[in-house]
């Protein structure tokens, strides 16, 4: 959040409501314009880190529909708004203002075109599928593992043998800091020392939408097969995640998975639910 900007927008709105209206009477149409601009400014500049453009467009589209619905939900208001537009266009008194508006609209389009042409070229944004569906089974170092039913064998120890479990967690920690933290970071926030060089950025495990909503067998697949093992239906894909099946044993992978959950405090998604 960019509190400063948000406060400034709110202050401007209050100013319009209580001060400006003493001199000029604002009709509903003007109010709609003011709300539109205020919300646009809030979405574009009031939030930190900035929202992606696609989201701002989506939000503003919803707001536009809502504002139009509000204006036209009342016959009187709609009539007044229509009349004020007509009056603006036909009354002599507004002739100059009308000319200015007629100039400003194409000028705004031109300015916008100019500005967007002046930006450094960027690859187009794409709707990347971050969590593609896993295959139903994989071959791991020669043996087949069924991902629909596979369970983390270490999970059971959590309640039956705490000492053994703690040892596995310690192993997981070691594996993580030997292999993963370069990318996924000291605190698993996805900002390790290599991270800035990659696109997509390494996953942030503290985020509620990564490991917190996945099953452990899903993580096993992603860690074992890495980016090279991703299904083709989820292109475009240029993830740098290595395929760890070449470096870690099955047990080591389950251990590091346990550690990811222990460290972040999340629970994995349970398998299957009552039918």
């Amino acid at each position: 959040m960019n509190l400063f900007v948000l406060l400034a927008i709110a202050a401007a709105m209050v100013l319009v409501q209580f001060v400006v209206t003493r001199w000029v009477k604002l009709n509903l149409l003007a109010w709609m314009g003011i709300w539109w601009v205020a919300l646009w400014a809030a979405f574009s500049y009031g939030i930190n880190p900035p929202l992606p453009n696609s989201i701002i467009v989506l939000f503003m589209a919803i707001i536009t529909i809502a504002l139009v619905a509000y204006l036209s939900a009342d016959n009187e208001e709609l009539k007044q708004a229509q009349e004020s537009i007509v009056r603006f266009m036909v009354t002599r008194q507004y002739r100059v203002a009308l000319l200015i508006v007629m100039f400003l609209i194409p000028a705004a389009v031109a300015a916008w075109t100019f500005a967007s042409m002046n930006e450094a070229p960027q690859p187009p944004s794409s709707g990347r599928t971050i969590h593609p569906p896993p295959p139903s089974s994989i071959t791991f170092q020669g043996t087949s593992i069924n991902l629909t039913t596979a369970n983390n064998p270490i999970r059971e120890l959590q309640h039956t043998d705490e000492a053994a479990f703690a040892e596995h967690v310690a192993n997981g920690r070691r594996i993580y800091f030997e292999n993963c933290f370069y990318c996924h970071g000291d605190n698993m926030e996805g900002a390790g020392m290599f991270a800035h060089g990659y696109d997509p950025l390494p996953a942030n495990f503290n985020d509620a939408t990564t490991i917190a909503m996945l099953q452990e067998s899903y993580l096993f697949w992603r860690i074992a097969k890495g980016a090279p093992g991703l299904p083709s239906e989820s292109t475009p894909w240029s993830s740098a995640m290595p395929a760890w099946e070449d470096f870690l044993t099955e047990e080591e992978i389950w251990e590091v998975i346990i550690f990811l959950y222990e460290f972040t405090g999340f629970e994995p998604r349970a398998q299957g639910m009552p039918h």
Partner: protein, 591 residues
């Protein structure tokens, strides 16, 4: 009379074809011994057979949904008319029923086409499904005949049969229709979440194959969605007639019809999100890949489109209610509330439509510190969505409440207290729902899914308790004047069209999602799609096909509306003195 009799051949021909086809299917030699050389697929010259089947199946579904839904609420309306003795209800129910006969013919024709298409273009798949489900075809055909009987008896018997017998026919029509849908749902849900078969795909237990993971969720989701859809189409018919009405009387009647249609649609819309949620949970439970394909993978983008459409449905429904207040004296009092209701709806709409994975450029992603935005992320997950949709439902309910009260003034002594209690219930439920939503961020996935239940229950509680209080509160209320039916702007009628189109689109889209999530499988994990069409189409292409289907559907519905309108026309009169008038004069006797 003549026109009506002509129409029934429309039904007989496709029905005959369907039966022939099914008989051919069920009799052994047709499929039991396929030669090696039998093709697995056949292709068409100009259009891909997949797109053709896609369109036919979806159109069949749309008409079937309509044909199943209308009798549900027509019956309820007829019953209200019977109980209250108010003839207008009876007339209204009949007006809805008029749309049925032609739609039923279309449904049957499209169903026959679908069956044909499956046999011709997908022989191997069809064979497999027939092998699994052959025992269900017999009751299906029988029920289909009964459906035809009850539907036509219900329609032609209107006003001719004793009221109780007629109501009974309506009940039977609904039971039979629902049973038909349940059977057909077994076939299609089996393709998504196959059950009751062994490793080789051979049937081990028919009941398990029928009662697979998503059979019941789809049954329920469809019944409710069908009613919503049927109500919306019925309302569109009302709007269509309203806009073309020449007399004030007709305007009033069709304004009322549009209102009732959309009332039905909204009532059904309210529980839909929960039914959908249950469906989603069962899909996830069956197979995480399927669940992830749906909610996290490629198809998740379609759920954004779904969310936008649903947000629009809620917005348009409220909009219609607000415009409707123009016809009630005294409604001006509530105008001030609209801003706040709209504000809540917009906020919830935004939360509801916020995607889980974002479309962002590399620079934008860098700025966000990853592919997830720290603030949007909060809005993108289930807890936020459930909270938003619960509040959307409550807000829509409040719009209804205001509409209901528009011309009433409470006269009971406890009116003030009653209002405060209602307000207190709302406030408590809103706080509770938001609290659960926020709490959902601090618990694991399993508990979070469980939280949606108390949310729903509290919203239901609020709606029921407030309604009950309202009924007593406005007993013997002073009226500020009667509702002036027909006194409403044309905009509201276009809102009804908008709702009908949005529902249809939503249905086409979700139908595609249901079928498409199997990806390169016909029967998920069992029968692989080895045709040239095994790829999953791009979202844009799929969107294009779905939109084209929606357009075709409305062209067909326009025909239905036109034909239904004929029944109410004056008899054709020859210009006096023409050849016809003399011939007619002698012929009218025997018609």
């Amino acid at each position: 009379m003549l026109t009506i009799d002509r129409r029934s051949w429309l039904l007989r021909v496709p029905l005959g074809i369907l039966v022939l086809v099914l008989v051919a299917l069920c009799s052994e030699p047709a499929w039991a011994a396929p030669q090696e050389a039998d093709p697995e697929y056949r292709a068409l010259p100009f259009i891909s057979s997949r797109v053709l089947m896609w369109a036919v199946a979806e159109l069949h579904l749309m008409f079937a949904a309509f044909v199943l839904a209308v009798p549900i609420f027509a019956l309820v309306i007829e019953y209200i008319g019977y109980k209250t003795g108010d003839r207008r209800y009876d007339q209204l129910a009949y007006d809805f029923t008029k749309l049925l006969s032609v739609s039923f013919s279309f449904t049957a024709t499209l169903g026959a086409l679908l069956t044909f298409g499956l046999i011709v273009f997908y022989p191997a798949l069809t064979q497999y499904l027939v092998k699994i489900f052959s025992w269900t075809f017999l009751p299906y055909v029988l029920l289909f005949f009964l459906e035809a009987f009850f539907l036509y008896a219900y329609y032609y018997g209107w006003g001719k049969l004793p009221p109780r017998l007629h109501l009974f026919l309506g009940v039977m029509l609904n039971i039979v229709g629902t049973a038909i849908m349940f059977i057909a749902n077994a076939w299609l849900t089996f393709m998504n979440t196959p059950n009751g078969i062994d490793e080789m795909g051979n049937l081990t237990n028919l009941w398990e194959a029928i009662n697979n993971y998503i059979w019941m969720p789809i049954n329920i989701h469809r019944i409710i969605a069908n009613v919503a859809f049927g109500g919306a189409i019925g309302a569109a018919y009302g709007a269509f007639k309203f806009l073309g009405a020449k007399t004030l009387e007709a305007r009033a009647h069709y304004d009322w019809m549009g209102y009732i249609g959309i009332f039905v649609a909204i009532c059904a819309l309210l529980p839909l999100p929960f039914a959908g949620y249950w469906l989603g949970v069962e899909i996830y439970a069956y197979d995480q890949s399927l669940g992830i394909t749906l909610m996290g993978g490629t198809f998740s983008w379609l759920f954004i489109v779904q969310a936008v459409l649903i947000g629009n449905l809620f917005l348009a429904a409220n909009y219609y209610l607000w415009l409707s207040m123009a016809r009630i004296p005294g409604a001006e009092r509530f105008r001030g509330f609209i801003k706040y209701l709209l504000g809540i709806i917009t906020l919830c709409f935004i939360v509801w439509a916020t995607p889980h994975s974002l479309v962002a450029t590399v620079e934008e992603a860098r700025a966000m510190g990853g592919s997830h935005h720290p603030i949007l992320n909060v809005l993108g997950v289930m807890s936020a969505k459930n909270t938003a949709v619960n509040l959307l439902i409550l807000t829509t309910y409040v719009s209804f409440l205001l509409y209901r009260r528009a011309n009433k003034e409470a006269t009971v002594s406890w009116a003030k207290t009653g209002n405060w209690i209602q307000f207190g219930i709302f406030a408590a439920v809103v706080i509770y729902v938001v609290f659960l939503g926020v709490y959902g961020y601090f618990v694991d996935a399993q508990t979070r899914i469980g939280l949606s239940q108390p949310q729903v229950m509290s919203v239901l509680f609020a709606m029921v308790s407030v309604t009950v209080i309202d009924i007593f509160l406005f007993k013997n209320a002073k009226s500020r004047g009667e509702i002036v039916w027909g006194k409403i702007s044309a905009r509201s009628q276009y809102a009804l069209f908008f709702l009908a189109i949005t529902f249809t689109w939503l249905m086409g889209l979700m139908g595609y999602v249901r079928a498409g999530m199997r990806q390169h499988w016909h029967v998920y994990g069992v029968v692989r799609d080895t045709s040239v069409d095994a790829f999953t189409p791009t979202l844009g292409y799929a969107g294009g096909v779905v939109s084209a289907i929606v357009i075709v559907f409305f062209l067909l519905i326009a025909i239905v509306f036109f034909l239904a309108g004929l029944a109410g026309r004056k008899d054709w009169e020859p210009k006096s003195g023409s050849r016809w008038s003399k011939a007619e004069a002698s012929a009218t006797v025997d018609s």
